[in-house]
């Protein structure tokens, strides 16, 4: 559905590299996650695919249309939700939706089935101005506006940034039901924990794709064994663990430390070492890595 070949892009006359030889393929009907921190190049890639920017190098196709030559055809068949909340703050929910429906040459009634489940949640407030809505409601309205013309591909650039957990969960549930309608969804997020909600993901950093796979596949490719270190006094525990010569890397990770070992080192030995250093309650257990652990490992390679 989306094919990206050797796309490259720079800003400031080549001084800032935004994208570097990016290759990707997104299949029809999948939720594909583009995961990386701010400044990784996610928005640039979205803008190239939505024909808002011309790539400097490489080629890309959306729905078999070339992003440079067939930009008009692409603009007819995709839905796009930019990173910022981009609806008219001084228009009401209904006015916004009506406006975008007309802009895309359709009416609310025509594709109401597609947005119905989402729209009913905000319909009670339809005469409220968009600027006065909560983060979660704005997001729902933006999604309705992006879906109003029944696009084949949906581009969602960081849709969940700045939205609370409950709204985020609802949002991902909505995406899952859209997938059932056969809509291909390319979604970007800086939050690693959302990766597992996608069918496939690409990890992106500094304009380069680090890895493309299913979330399970990425976790599976973690090299070596990951250990969790639990104990009181995180800061001193962190210093002590990093001081152990067998440790390759160690980071605080929520309520525990995550550590990997150099070849030959073992968990029990570290536990004994930490206890000897006064961390009597220290416990070292092997654990299964998460997407974020994989990302860190890929970044350090």
């Amino acid at each position: 559905m989306i094919r990206i070949e050797h796309i490259g892009m720079t800003y400031d006359k080549g001084r800032v590299v935004a994208l570097q030889d990016v290759n990707l393929e997104v299949n029809k009907g999948e939720i594909f996650g583009l995961i990386g921190p701010d400044g990784a190049g996610k928005t640039t890639l979205f803008r190239i695919l939505t024909t808002l920017l011309l790539p400097e190098k490489g080629q890309a196709w959306v729905n078999n249309y070339d992003v440079v030559k067939d930009y008009k055809a692409i603009r007819n068949s995709v839905g796009y939700m930019p990173g910022k909340f981009s609806l008219y703050q001084d228009l009401t929910i209904e006015e916004n939706l009506n406006f975008f429906a007309t802009v895309f040459g359709t009416t609310i009634a025509e594709n109401y089935d597609l947005i119905k489940d989402i729209y009913v949640q905000i319909e009670p407030f339809k005469n409220r101005r968009a600027g006065k809505l909560s983060g979660g409601m704005k997001q729902k309205l933006a999604l309705c506006c992006a879906l109003i013309h029944k696009p084949d591909v949906l581009f969602l650039d960081e849709p969940t940034t700045g939205v609370d957990v409950v709204s985020r969960k609802e949002f991902w549930d909505m995406l899952k039901s859209l997938r059932k309608e056969g809509i291909t969804i390319l979604v970007s997020t800086p939050y690693m924990d959302e990766a597992t909600l996608c069918d496939r993901i690409a990890l992106i950093q500094k304009g380069s794709i680090l890895s493309v796979d299913t979330p399970e596949g990425i976790v599976h490719s973690f090299s070596g064994q990951l250990y969790a270190v639990h104990g009181q006094g995180t800061y001193h525990l962190l210093q002590a663990t990093r001081g152990y010569e067998g440790v390759a890397s160690c980071f605080a990770f929520g309520d525990a430390l995550h550590a990997t070992f150099k070849p030959g080192a073992q968990g029990p030995a570290l536990q004994a070492y930490l206890q000897s250093k006064g961390h009597s309650d220290a416990r070292v257990d092997p654990i299964k890595p998460g997407i974020e652990d994989c990302f860190i490992q890929l970044l350090n390679q």
């Binding site: 803008r47 808002l52 001084d90």
Partner: protein, 368 residues
């Protein structure tokens, strides 16, 4: 077509929901006219006069007494020499000075004519005109009675001289200036800001990604501003008729037609600005510095263009408001027809359509 109408409707909603800006837009011309109306009081009561009398004879004294007896005037001082006049004006306490040359009454009796210099402060053009008119009347009265006395006609020629503003640029010039300024501000600033706001908000991205025609975007951005500008135009015309006694003497249709040309020019400039400006502040600064200053300085309503150095004179030809200013002056104040302003109208039309075409061409279908 329906798309376009929906878009235009949306633009009007933006305008009407932003009460503060709306108030400013319509308050601006009203405030300008009203302020100007107050600043230009026609009150000439107790205007102070300085007198330089080189002749010092009975006739000059009679004239001076007659002027001093008039309730509108008060003789402030007798100066020894005409060189003191400038200083007296600068001190700000006199409005007009009378200079009687040597041998005033001898000339008047023997040749039947004499001259008196009437020097007024032209920086307040309205007042200066009124004051000099009064003085001329007083002198004419005096010569009329003198003619009867002498049995043959005598004439005193007042030589009127304006200090500081010899061309007496005042209210009649100010109104076309205010019109040019207000239309320029509304059109250029509002257009560029409303487009850049969509860029900042991110909605421009969605509009560009939609199959919506970019010409429609531009047309619908222009529509509300065109309407606001026309309403502003009528406010100015009505107010200047009511308050400043300056009705439209010429054809109102011609005036509106030329105003629309000027508005279109300004809208296109706003459009061009919005293409390069990234933030609303930049758009606003661009319209203020780039458009308002030239409109004020190079249009001719504050400073006469003929007195400017050649490079500025050439530059002023590029300022659209310069041509509009001339048209309004000729049509509104002098009541002249298209025959007198066809050249300016043509220049304005070329500017309007040229700039509009350029901004249409340059309006990007992509970001950056």
């Amino acid at each position: 077509m329906k798309q376009l109408l929906v878009f235009i409707r949306k633009e009007f909603l933006h305008v009407f929901r932003d009460r503060k800006t709306l108030l400013m837009l319509f308050g601006l011309p009203i405030a300008q006219i009203v302020l100007f109306g107050f600043a230009l009081s026609n009150e000439v009561k107790d205007s102070k006069i300085a007198v330089v009398d080189y002749s010092k004879d009975i006739m000059t004294r009679q004239i001076i007494n007659k002027v001093g007896a008039n309730p509108y005037f008060e003789i402030e001082s007798n100066l020894k020499s005409a060189t003191d006049i400038d200083a007296a004006f600068r001190k700000g306490n006199i409005k007009v000075a009378l200079v009687f040359p040597d041998n005033f009454s001898t000339d008047l009796i023997h040749t039947g004519t004499a001259t008196v210099q009437v020097i007024a402060d032209g920086s307040d053009p309205n007042l200066a005109t009124t004051v000099t008119n009064y003085i001329s009347t007083v002198i004419a009265d005096y010569t009329a009675s003198l003619s009867l006395q002498e049995g043959h006609p005598v004439q005193v020629q007042p030589e009127i001289q304006m200090l500081y503003n010899p061309d007496l640029r005042g209210a009649p010039n100010f109104i076309p200036g205010v019109m040019a300024l207000v239309l320029m501000l509304v059109c250029t600033m509002m257009t560029s800001v409303s487009i850049v706001r969509e860029k900042e908000l991110g909605t421009m991205e969605i509009l560009l990604v939609s199959p919506f025609n970019t010409t429609y975007i531009i047309l619908s951005k222009l529509a509300p501003n065109l309407l606001i500008s026309l309403v502003n135009l009528f406010i100015i015309l009505v107010l200047s008729d009511l308050f400043l006694d300056l009705p439209v003497k010429g054809s109102i249709v011609l005036l509106v037609f030329c105003s629309i040309l000027f508005i279109l020019t300004c809208l296109s400039i706003g459009l061009l600005l919005s293409i390069s400006a990234k933030t609303q502040q930049a758009a606003m600064m661009g319209s203020l510095m780039g458009m308002m200053l030239p409109t004020m300085l190079l249009t001719g309503f504050l400073f006469p263009i003929e007195n400017m150095p050649l490079p500025l004179r050439l530059l002023s030809n590029l300022v659209p408001s310069r041509w509009y200013f001339i048209i309004v002056k000729q049509v509104m104040l002098k009541g002249l027809g298209i025959g007198a302003v066809w050249k300016e109208t043509l220049i304005l039309a070329v500017m309007a359509f040229g700039l509009f075409a350029i901004s249409l061409r340059n309006f990007k279908i992509r970001l950056q």
